[in-house]
């Protein structure tokens, strides 16, 4: 049933008022040859009962394999309380509500979220979130162009450790707006940026630095951030927020810290759920806040002097600035952010650090076990957080297929981006020693 609240009588009256016979007539100006009466690959509508059955069958096909895949989205334990609270009627809405100030609880939740994310990233201000980490990078690049006004090149340089999918998405969103994205040279030994080969004089508007990198290594972010600033560029930091419980906050990278940080918020209490919805976070230095996209919640006082929360700095936004708005983002991933805020509240900083440390330890156990097998070794010689790229002496795909028969997802096939047979593996705190040993044994058997 389409969600259109008008009755047939309403529709007839509206059509009569504008002098049109039928709704179909409203589309007269679209030539018949440009119209399609069905979408390819989209079947006819099903009933609720049919859809429920179909989804149950599909869900059964997923099974519940032991998953060692990370590559940007990570399986973590989510305390039951997180989604129990997040799905209460008072919170259960996908977006920032309209008439936001009437929903003080929602605004306070977003305000607390902003406070936590600025704390983790070491920067001054946070918005209420963006769609995901990848679109967050596109927004950060566009923001850098607005805020770093001295530079007109529109050139964004990417450290080799930036998630390649983020580059595709940023290019799709910002490429048509005059921005170009170029990769910085990679050091084949470490997988990180090749400092000796950094290009001088390109006049980039921003340099994007990811930590941990897509293949899991830790980059010399201090040196790279300082290099960005020496070039007159902004530094944009992409960080897994969970890793920030252990690693240096982007706001403290190098002499001055990054100007903008963004990334994928999924590790903070959001389930993998076949790829989404997730949420993107974005924080920046105070002086750039007017160029920041998205909603921002501020704390204020009402006429009686009582504290309250309100959307603030709204002149950046579409409903006021129209075409000059900082972005067409005029909402946030409200429900995901609610879950993340509850997750962070329940774990606290110490809890996050424990999850991060345990994930590092588990990955170390996994990597040491795998590297004891003939034909497997580390791809890069660099420190790591909770994900490691491994080099194999044979093609990855058949190995993964063989291990999948044991109900184990052995990792993310990195061969295409690495240019050789390589696998990215990750063992979060959700894995027991027995799980990890089962994975190692499965590889040993498949490689024998």
């Amino acid at each position: 049933m389409p969600f259109i609240p008008h009755t047939e009588k309403d529709t007839r009256e509206m059509l009569a008022a504008i002098g049109v016979d039928s709704i179909e007539d409203l589309f007269d100006e679209i030539p018949a040859e440009l119209r399609i009466d069905h979408l390819q690959g989209v079947p006819e509508a099903l009933s609720e009962m049919e859809v429920s059955r179909l989804m149950r069958e599909r869900a059964r096909m997923d099974g519940s394999p032991l998953c060692f895949i990370g590559a940007g989205a990570y399986e973590h334990h989510i305390p039951t309380a997180v989604w129990d609270i997040a799905t209460r009627g008072e919170f259960y809405s996908a977006y920032t509500p309209y008439q936001a100030e009437a929903s003080q609880g929602t605004l306070q939740t977003i305000y607390e979220y902003q406070t936590m994310i600025t704390g983790l990233t070491g920067l001054d201000v946070s918005n209420a979130s963006l769609y995901d980490g990848a679109s967050g990078l596109a927004e950060a690049a566009l923001m850098a162009v607005r805020a770093n006004r001295r530079v007109k090149s529109g050139l964004i340089l990417l450290a080799p450790g930036v998630n390649p999918v983020y580059e595709h998405v940023a290019e799709a969103i910002a490429g048509s707006q005059g921005l170009t994205f170029e990769w910085l040279p990679k050091d084949a030994k470490t997988g990180n940026v090749a400092f000796d080969e950094l290009p001088e004089g390109k006049d980039p508007v921003a340099v994007v630095i990811q930590q941990p990198t897509f293949p899991g290594t830790l980059e010399d972010v201090d040196r790279l951030t300082d290099w960005a600033h020496e070039q007159g560029a902004f530094a944009i930091g992409i960080a897994n927020p969970l890793s920030l419980a252990l690693l240096k906050a982007p706001g403290n990278w190098g002499e001055q810290g990054v100007d903008i940080a963004c990334g994928e918020g999924q590790p903070l209490g959001v389930p993998l759920s076949s790829g989404g919805p997730y949420f993107g976070y974005m924080t920046c230095k105070q002086k750039h806040v007017r160029q920041m996209p998205g909603r921002i919640v501020g704390r204020t006082t009402d006429l009686d002097g009582k504290p309250g929360f309100a959307l603030t700095l709204q002149a950046r936004e579409q409903h006021i600035r129209r075409s000059k708005a900082t972005s067409n983002i005029c909402t946030n991933q409200g429900l995901m952010v609610t879950a993340a805020t509850i997750y962070m509240s329940l774990l606290g900083f110490e809890g996050l650090a424990t999850v991060a440390r345990k994930s590092h330890e588990n990955t170390t156990r996994l990597v040491e076990g795998l590297c004891a097998i003939d034909g497997i070794e580390r791809l890069y010689d660099a420190p790591y957080f909770h994900e490691v790229a491994l080099k194999f002496d044979r093609p990855i795909a058949p190995l993964l297929a063989s291990i999948a028969e044991k109900n184990i997802l052995g990792g993310f096939d990195l061969s295409e981006s690495a240019g050789s047979d390589a696998l990215l593996v990750c063992a979060t705190e959700t894995k027991t020693d027995a799980d990890i040993d089962a994975c190692i044994a499965a590889f040993a058997e498949a490689m024998a």
Binding site: R149, R150, R290, A315, R316, I320, R321, K324
Partner: protein, 130 residues
Amino acid sequence: MSELPGDLLYTNDHEWLRREDDGSVTIGITDHAATALGDLVYVELPEVGQDVEAGGEMAVVESVKAASDVYAPVAGSVAAVNEELSDDPEKINADPYGDGWIVRLEIEGLDESELMSPDAYQQLLDELDD
């Protein structure tokens, strides 16, 4: 509404312009514009040395409820900006024709027929009131 200074020229977009002795021009927004926007909270200024086209966007003034572009009434190069507005944007509300100036431009020449006299601008305001 306060009286319009008689020594200034005005535009349709509610900017004012003062010819300085050194040939440059100082530009701001009128009391009418500042009052209509409400209390200003932020002014985005151009960079000194930047070239602006006649009719081109030069600055942005933002109040709690609206943001509005300030256009260059004449082509030129930005010679100075009112840095004090960065910390104190409400100077524009308090003294739009004095401390609330926004930009000074070096210009090649000025075609006064493109601009309005105080009388002509007053007439525009009267029509807006009707």
